[in-house]
């Protein structure tokens, strides 16, 4: 992979006073790299939308800094207005201007004689050339999203921001538009940030993943790396199911109900969390095994086995396994861990 150039940097961004329904920013750091899509994933209330709005210039910063290259966009004393920032934004509800047709919507941010021609070209690229004269309410949800994206891309912004751009759509359309949006962004060579609360969506669109919680970016990296090596229990939970065990390190190892795991790098006596993805468990039929299957259910593409210590039935843990499986409810099993899916983090 070639060296990636940082286009936009956020350092220690703070937003303390916010309106009702908005989350504050404690101290957020983030880099957006040239031509790459960053997915910002976080639960609602984590401040991801506030960060996006701060980058767009729709919110001010109380501290920290947002800069495009050498140009400071926001800090405690500076606030470049949104119209001079060269950001493109796709809003959650698309925010198409209801009084303008699709073509005029796309041309809104363009100046000069060629505005309409450029806008028409953008619409053609979105395969919506024939809808140029249609008003927003005459377009389907998916078409509205494509017009909104075309509109944001038309002025060739330095950075393009997408706020939950697929949330209003049904599942099938969402997948289709997701792929399409990524293709469009890649074709435009855009530096993009997509805000979402859907882990699967974040993993699917991201070149780089940033996890956000309580007003901070808690981890960034390639999606697989972040999934495989979360830095904290919170980070692990954000990306999907995980079993979390508390342990104290003894002799470089941390104890779990399934045996001790390697905790290299932690001094003895250190309290840690052991994070185990459901894929780590291999359950095998074993009359003498210490565990029993409590429930067996299909999760669409794989099987979820709930298991517990054979004696007593709490707690329950979840294992994911491929179809078909010889295991059934009530079977006694032994458990093995694949260390690739196990992470030890400090507590």
């Amino acid at each position: 992979m070639s060296q990636t150039q940082t286009v936009l940097s956020v350092r220690g961004a703070q937003r303390r006073y916010v309106k009702k329904g908005q989350a504050a920013l404690a101290s957020a750091d983030l880099d957006l790299h040239a031509g790459r899509i960053t997915a910002l994933l976080g639960p609602s209330g984590s401040g991801k939308s506030t960060l996006l709005r701060a980058i767009a210039g729709l919110e001010r910063l109380d501290g920290g800094e947002i800069a495009l290259g050498d140009t400071v966009w926001s800090n405690a004393g500076t606030h470049i207005p949104p119209e001079t920032r060269r950001v493109g934004m796709v809003f959650q509800d698309y925010a198409l201007f209801p009084h303008l047709d699709a073509l005029s919507n796309v041309a809104f941010g363009l100046k000069g004689k060629d505005a309409k021609a450029i806008a028409q070209a953008q619409l053609e690229a979105a395969e919506l050339g024939h809808k140029a004269k249609a008003y927003p309410h005459e377009l389907s949800g998916g078409e509205q999203q494509r017009v909104a994206l075309a509109r944001a891309l038309a002025p060739s912004p330095a950075v393009i921001l997408l706020d939950e751009p697929f949330s209003g759509l049904d599942r099938r359309l969402r997948h289709e538009l997701r792929d399409r949006t990524v293709q469009t962004l890649k074709a435009a060579g855009a530096t993009a940030m997509i805000v979402t609360h859907d882990a699967e969506e974040a993993m699917a669109v991201a070149d780089e993943l940033a996890l956000m919680d309580a007003g901070r970016v808690i981890q960034t990296g390639a999606p697989e790396d972040v999934w495989m090596r979360p830095v904290s229990a919170t980070a692990a939970r954000l990306l999907g199911d995980v079993e979390i065990f508390e342990a104290d390190v003894t002799n470089g190892r941390a104890d779990t109900p399934f045996g001790a795991v390697d905790a290299a790098g932690f001094e003895d006596g250190r309290p840690v969390h052991v994070l185990i993805r459901p894929q780590a468990f291999t359950l095998s039929l074993d009359e003498a095994g210490g565990f029993a299957i409590k429930r067996r259910r299909s999760a669409g593409t794989h099987l979820v086995l709930e298991f517990a210590p054979a004696e007593g039935d709490t707690p329950h843990w979840h294992a994911h396994t491929a179809f078909p499986s010889p295991l059934h409810e009530g079977d006694r099993v032994s458990v093995e861990l694949d260390p690739a899916y196990v992470t030890v983090v400090k507590r």
Binding site: L58, E83, A95, H99, F108, G109, Q144, R151
Partner: protein, 541 residues
């Protein structure tokens, strides 16, 4: 345009204007209350309480109930028909049915009394069977005929907005179509209907021309008599206070209904009901149902007046009066639209001051024109009392009499009564401009000012204009406040019409009476079409 800015301590320009609107609307009521409570007592009111006051009260209630009942019947029925049924001409009727609002109730009263009085054409054709439109029921009927559009509009939108789910659920639970309507659709529309009924009652309470012409002495009549006959500001203020108290009761009842509305709001996804397609005699009946109130409230009265006007020379001073009417209505409309728009912006920005101002301005709804006029007089004479000594001490000359400021005082009173009416439409229009639209415009390179022109104005213009036009029509029709406040020899169309009609010179009253609805019809058509256009959904899809 508060996106991205910290709310400062000082209110922004919009909030300042909203506060001004609140002052204009609320000051006269408070002035009236102040005068009524602190003024010197005399025997007039005591005398009145023993003699006429019970009659005034009884007539106010009687007329109000007939008006509300009649208008509710017509308005709800037509609202349902337009919202839920399909028949030839439905789209046209959906806005044409609003037009009787352009006819002042007293104009309808002139025409109907003339048609139905002894020796009039209706009695002649029916052999004396047709009752003479007169008294409490007659006045109530006139109000019902020209004010039903208030209820019609709200009912139509309520029935249109209703999801079919509740009705369908009722059907699956064993209710027939009629029962289902009575037990689901109607109760769900009740808050809207209550709001409309409250408006109709208010208008009938505020009226002077109709009730005085048809002989139904309501409180307004007592109020005007106290002022113009006895010339007592204190007594007029005390009667005003009673009138305002009744108005507040009506409005608090309506508020209670609306508070309950939250529990009756449909849950889940909105699924509009399919229209009932009417055919054959059913659709004929529907068309007839729509035509009847139009004929009774609009066409017949105007035709009769046109006929009378044709047989009479134009009254002198008509041109000047028409000019006065148009000037007053235009200036009031502009000011009201501006104040309404500013208040809507202030509300959008949020903040305590904005909300409080909008509330206070809303008081204007509860202020009958005569009361507003008494309030304005109280304020002006109070101010005069303060300025006179100081002015004389400073300049040695007498300060000009404020009351003869005339037109300005009238506009003050009009605004106090009608500016509140301009807030709602502006607010609704501005509601379509979501914060995300601002954000979209700004990130696409438009400055705050540019966003106002390129995004806000196109989206709110029609709403703001129709708010202004509504005020224009109301001012054109206004009579009691004008009677109390107009400068000497300053006539409006309404005044000329009323004066001739009161003198039993209906022929001369006919042309000015006709001119008011004719002029009002043009803006009314714009308003009606605006209110009936299918709402453009915002970008949310």
């Amino acid at each position: 345009m508060t996106a991205g800015t910290h709310k400062g301590f000082w209110p922004d320009r919009a909030t300042l204007l909203a506060i001004l609107a609140a002052l204009v609307c609320a000051a006269p009521v408070f002035a009236v209350a102040w005068i009524a409570l602190t003024g010197q007592s005399d025997d007039y009111l005591l005398h009145l309480a023993r003699t006429r006051l019970p009659v005034y009260l009884a007539y106010s209630v009687y007329v109000g109930l007939v008006a509300a009942g009649g208008a509710a019947l017509i308005g709800t029925g037509l609202g349902w028909l337009i919202a839920r049924a399909d028949f030839p001409g439905r789209k046209l009727f959906s806005w044409v049915l609003i037009l009787p609002l352009a006819v002042p109730a007293y104009v309808a009263a002139y025409a109907w009394l003339d048609l139905s009085q002894a020796g009039g054409p209706l009695q002649a054709w029916t052999g004396g069977l047709f009752p003479t439109v007169r008294g409490g029921w007659g006045a109530g009927l006139m109000f019902a005929l020209v004010l039903y559009p208030y209820i019609f509009l709200l009912a139509r939108d309520a029935f249109t907005g209703q999801s079919a789910d509740a009705y369908n659920a009722a059907r699956t639970l064993g209710a027939g179509p009629v029962t289902a309507f009575w037990r689901t659709s109607l109760p769900m529309a009740r808050p809207a209907l209550a709001a409309g009924v409250a408006l109709v009652m208010m208008e009938s309470l505020a009226d002077y021309g109709t009730v005085s012409y048809l002989g139904a002495p309501t409180l307004s009549i007592g109020l005007i008599r106290a002022w113009s006959g006895a010339g007592s500001l204190v007594d007029a203020a005390r009667l005003s206070l009673i009138l305002v108290a009744i108005a507040l009761v009506v409005f608090s009842l309506e508020r209670m209904q609306r508070r309950r509305a939250r529990t009756t709001a449909a849950s889940g996804k909105h699924k509009p009901a399919p229209r009932l397609v009417l055919t054959g005699w059913q659709s004929g009946l529907a068309v007839l149902a729509c035509l009847t109130p139009l004929m009774l409230g609009l066409v017949i009265p105007l035709a009769r007046l046109a006929w009378l006007a044709l047989n009479e020379l134009a009254a002198p001073g008509l041109i000047a009066a028409a000019f006065h009417s148009l000037t007053l209505a235009s200036i009031s409309a502009l000011c009201a639209a501006l104040l309404g728009m500013a208040t809507a912006y202030a509300l959008r920005g949020g903040g305590f001051m904005a909300t409080a101002s909008a509330r206070a301005a809303g008081l204007g709804y509860a202020v009958p024109g005569a009361v507003a006029a008494v309030g304005v007089i109280a304020i002006l004479s109070g101010t005069q009392g303060l300025i006179d000594p100081a002015w004389e001490a400073l300049t040695g000359s007498v300060f000009p009499i404020l009351l003869t400021g005339g037109a300005a005082a009238l506009i003050f009173a009009y605004l106090s009564r009608f500016a509140a009416a301009a807030i709602g439409p502006s607010e609704a229009a501005l509601g379509r401009v979501t914060p995300a639209l601002d954000g979209a415009a700004r990130t696409l390179g438009a400055s705050a000012r540019e966003t106002l022109w390129r995004v806000h104005w196109p989206l709110i213009a029609a709403g703001v204009c129709s708010a202004g036009l509504l005020v224009f029509v109301e001012v054109l029709k206004e009579l009691p406040a004008t009677m109390i406040l107009r400068p000497f020899n300053y006539d409006t169309l309404a005044i000329i019409a009323h004066n001739y009609a009161a003198d039993e010179r209906l022929g001369e009253a006919a042309l000015p009476s006709l001119l008011i609805p004719m002029v009002a019809l043009i803006p009314m058509i714009f308003v009606a079409r605006y209110l009936s256009r299918t709402r453009t959904p915002s970008g949310t899809g």
